[in-house]
């Protein structure tokens, strides 16, 4: 199935006929895959954008949104069904592209497409827009005021490849709000976006005509510019440098959402540290660390653990180490590149150095072999991202104030806090952590499963791109004030 070439682009059939392609090798030399890519130029970008715009006018703009959502839900189901060739093909190619182990890829597809199937798209749209029909015609909102939502005519989306499945929800968001989609795939993960486009086109040719997925080397200025310059909406994932240059090039009226680089952390209250609960707590914490090998913004890099519980922070650290060791087989890691492993080794050596010379009670726990996992335990809170690939710090702390102080300078780099606490204590701790402006607070073990109806980077997934028309009906009386105009007989508003 994964023999030969992978078509790492998708263009609507009419356009594809005229596109030039070339074959490139991606990935490390010993493990490269061959990808067929569309040759991208400023002129071709213009042609493709034109094509998806006119297809949108024909196939998307006047079509009932609910119908589009049903198509998208059927596609999600195909990626979920273990017997479906679509899912099997996706798993095979994602595994072949080499960034994550097969169990991790299966997990990613299930977590990503699960919430989109069986009415999921409709529920998502309803949660943000009120109802699907509000995308078709003015529809009374909760207060009874008729409003219609318009997605942008087309969207430019720029994906990152750090986590498998990352393109899916953005991809769906564009089509769900009847926007055509021009997507730039990531060279780290060039597989899923074109596969998704092709599957949508198979399911519904009209929708497929409104999508283009291509790749070009990031930072190719004339191509970035050609794509960004006229985009009415841009959704981009990436590091500081790349996203800054995108932001500079966008049209002043464009709606832009950029997800920059972030990490997550976790907080465990003393009341949660019970002897009977320790195994399960450590297993959930380890799962959050291990899933996607800390490549995503929802991966915890530090655990702040309160002293004074039934079991102490050191015992938690030890249990977490055990749970990470279990996941070496349970949820295997892909071996990092040499330079990444070298960083982990340097980090370990540094921790051993602190263990020998420091005053923070540092202790290093690590996998019996290789760099599979590393845990550094120390007294007191501080915050620094680790080199990832299952490298974490566990900090013994006295309370949330200590953590607030340590995180405050870095709060803008934190996407989520995994919080382990119950009842009123949880409410109080969540309030303290929320006050730092961290976008998401979630239970441990669920850090990597954000809600589709929640936010990313503190922003909803559809609302930032929508424009609204509100049909106002009243008031009809003298409440309408027109100080600079002579009174009319009729109080009708314009």
């Amino acid at each position: 199935m994964t023999q030969g070439l992978f078509d790492a682009f998708y263009l609507p059939p009419d356009v594809e006929r005229d596109a030039d392609t070339s074959v490139q090798r991606f990935g490390p030399p010993h493990d490269a895959i061959e990808l067929r890519l569309a040759t991208v130029s400023p002129a071709s970008i213009e042609t493709w954008v034109e094509a998806i715009r006119s297809a949108r006018a024909e196939h998307l703009a006047r079509r009932p949104a609910a119908e589009i959502h049903r198509v998208l839900e059927r596609v999600a189901q195909r990626f979920l069904d273990p017997q479906s060739p679509v899912r099997r093909n996706a798993i095979a190619w994602l595994a072949h592209s080499g960034r994550f182990s097969t169990p991790m890829i299966e997990r990613a597809l299930t977590d990503t497409f699960g919430p989109l199937s069986a009415g999921g798209v409709s529920r998502w749209v309803a949660s943000e827009v009120g109802s699907a029909t509000a995308l078709d015609h003015p529809t009374p909102d909760r207060k009874g005021i008729p409003r219609q939502a318009f997605g942008p005519e087309w969207m430019l989306q720029i994906y990152a490849g750090n986590v498998p499945g990352l393109p899916v929800w953005p991809f769906y968001s564009a089509l769900a709000m009847k926007s055509a989609l021009f997507a730039k795939a990531s060279s780290q993960e060039p597989v899923l976006a074109p596969l998704l486009a092709r599957t949508i086109a198979e399911e519904d040719r009209g929708l497929g005509a409104c999508i283009a997925v291509v790749w070009w080397k990031g930072g190719t200025i004339e191509l970035d510019r050609a794509a960004v310059r006229r985009a009415p909406a841009v959704l981009a994932f990436g590091g500081e440098n790349s996203t800054m240059s995108i932001a500079r090039e966008t049209h002043p009226e464009a709606k832009i959402v950029i997800h920059g680089s972030k990490v997550s952390v976790a907080y465990i209250s003393r009341a949660s540290l019970t002897r009977p609960g320790l195994g399960s707590l450590a297993a959930r914490a380890a799962f959050d660390v291990a899933l996607y090998d800390q490549q995503g913004c929802l991966s915890p890099h530090a655990f702040y653990v309160e002293r004074g519980g039934d079991v102490g922070p050191a015992a938690f650290a030890s249990a977490l180490g055990g749970a990470l060791e279990t996941l070496r087989d349970g949820l295997p890691r892909r071996e990092p590149e040499a330079s990444q492993a070298a960083r982990v080794q340097l980090y370990r050596a540094q921790a051993h150095f602190e263990e020998a010379t420091g005053s923070r009670g540092t202790q290093v726990l690590a996998s019996s072999e290789g760099t599979d996992w590393t845990l550094v335990y120390e007294d007191g809170a501080r915050f620094e991202p680790t080199p990832a690939y299952r490298t974490v710090r566990v900090h013994a702390v006295d309370g949330v104030q200590e953590v607030e102080a340590a995180l405050a300078p870095a709060a803008r780099f934190i996407e989520a806090i995994g919080l382990e606490a119950k009842g009123r204590e949880r409410v109080a701790l969540a309030a303290a952590l929320a006050a730092m402006g961290v976008p998401r607070i979630a239970p441990l073990g669920a850090l990597q499963s954000p809600s589709l109806v929640g936010t990313h980077g503190g922003l909803h997934r559809l609302l930032p791109f929508l424009r609204w028309t509100t049909v106002e009906t009243g008031p009809r009386s003298s409440a309408v004030r027109r100080p600079h105009r002579p009174k009319r007989k009729s109080g009708r508003s314009r």
Partner: protein, 401 residues
């Protein structure tokens, strides 16, 4: 009572004298011989033992990871210190005087303090040296061999600041010593943090007109910026034969992906310096020794250049499997650990995060992982630091080192 506690002797200075002699006398082609290996091992272990006493944190680290004595007599047993450890710990014999290691104590007047550029996992650190004798012995011998194999005494144009303006940079210290000891009439192009390109224009024009060859030394970034500026303005200097350049840094840790061939081509077309006379250097503040390409030496010896950097005979570089930390067979790339006899006031064994391969006395670096492609929403440490530092500019253009 050990030898270095006998009153009236200073084991460190005796060691330094022995090391200086070894470096001065070391033959470039002898490193592989059994005799040279035994001599290296002997000095390294003696030096390591002294460092365990004079650098208390290093001694504690060596004891902690269980390789304190070096009894086996093999230099490979010497525990390398992570280069990140220079961050918070002085990690220098110059810091703690007699080894009392009182944290926060004023340093015992180090001769120089270099700031490191930091690793991808840590903030910048400090390298303090009581004496620069070993550093200079290593530097001048290596530099003379790889940049001045013809024995030329050239005018030097330094694309960087003076040592007075940048007192904590090992690179500009190095330039200062090269200028003072091996060259004539030094000119510095960077002043108050600003490149004064017109100064370079004038010097290069003079060199061209007087037919007097020059030596250019600087960071790859700054030299390249100058060459690009000349190119944009249509400036060309056909520098006289014998002119040469040493550049350092380049692809390492910088955002710009610098392609060696492009750089060499632009130096040739704009400055008239042929690729044989462009020598790349690899060094770090934590090491007293540097590594050079042998392009110019090869041209002088009328043979083709060999790939990679030359490992000086007083340095050993181990290449470890980054997963197992076991030595890799020759030629296979892995994590680099350097053992540098020019390091006495700071640990001689340094674990880096660089990846490269060694064949014979040649070191090839695999550039830092290219992060040009968007890395997604996960925050890499470099970027965390970059943003944490905010808009604070580098003290000098190019790479701090």
């Amino acid at each position: 009572m050990t030898a270095h506690e006998i009153p009236g002797t200073d084991p460190t200075r005796k060691m330094e004298a022995d090391l200086v002699r070894f470096i001065s006398e070391a033959g470039w082609e002898e490193a592989q011989t059994r005799r040279a290996e035994a001599a290296f091992s002997d000095l390294a272990i003696r030096s390591f033992r002294i460092q365990c006493d004079t650098i208390p944190e290093y001694g504690a680290y060596a004891r902690h990871i269980g390789r304190w004595s070096g009894r086996s007599g093999d230099w490979r047993e010497i525990p390398p210190v992570p280069c990140s450890a220079f961050k918070e710990h002085g990690l220098s014999a110059a810091r703690a005087g007699d080894g009392a290691a009182v944290r926060g104590e004023a340093p015992a007047s180090p001769a120089v303090t270099f700031e490191t550029s930091g690793t991808t996992i840590t903030r910048p650190g400090r390298v303090q040296l009581k004496s620069t004798r070993l550093y200079e012995t290593s530097l001048l011998k290596s530099f003379a061999r790889h940049l001045l194999p013809d024995g030329a005494r050239l005018k030097i144009i330094i694309f960087g600041p003076t040592r007075a303006e940048s007192p904590h940079s090992s690179l500009w210290f190095m330039a200062d010593r090269v200028a003072g000891r091996l060259c004539d009439a030094p000119i510095w192009i960077v002043e108050h943090g600003e490149p004064r390109w017109e100064r370079a224009d004038a010097e290069l024009a003079r060199s061209r007109d007087d037919r007097v060859p020059v030596l250019l030394l600087g960071t790859t970034l700054l030299l390249r910026a100058y060459v690009e500026r000349c190119d944009r303005r249509g400036l060309r200097f056909a520098l006289p034969p014998g002119s040469r350049a040493m550049d350092t840094g380049g692809a390492k840790g910088t955002r710009v992906e610098l392609l060696r061939n492009d750089i060499a081509a632009s130096f040739h077309s704009v400055l008239g310096i042929p690729p044989t006379h462009l020598v790349n250097e690899y060094g770090m503040a934590e090491m007293g020794s540097q590594f050079y390409e042998d392009t110019l030496l090869a041209a002088h010896e009328r043979r083709p250049a060999r790939a990679g950097f030359v490992i000086p005979p007083w340095v050993r570089t181990r290449v470890l499997d980054p997963e197992t930390m076991l030595d890799l067979p020759e030629g296979r790339p892995g994590l680099l650990v350097h053992y540098d006899l020019a390091n006495l006031d700071v640990p001689l064994a340094i674990q880096t995060e660089d990846v490269g391969a060694v064949a014979g006395n040649r070191l090839t670096l695999e550039g830092r992982l290219r992060e040009a492609e968007r890395r997604g929403c996960s925050l890499p440490f470099e970027q965390f630091l970059e943003r944490e530092r905010g808009a604070r500019a580098d003290p000098a253009p190019g790479m701090p080192r």
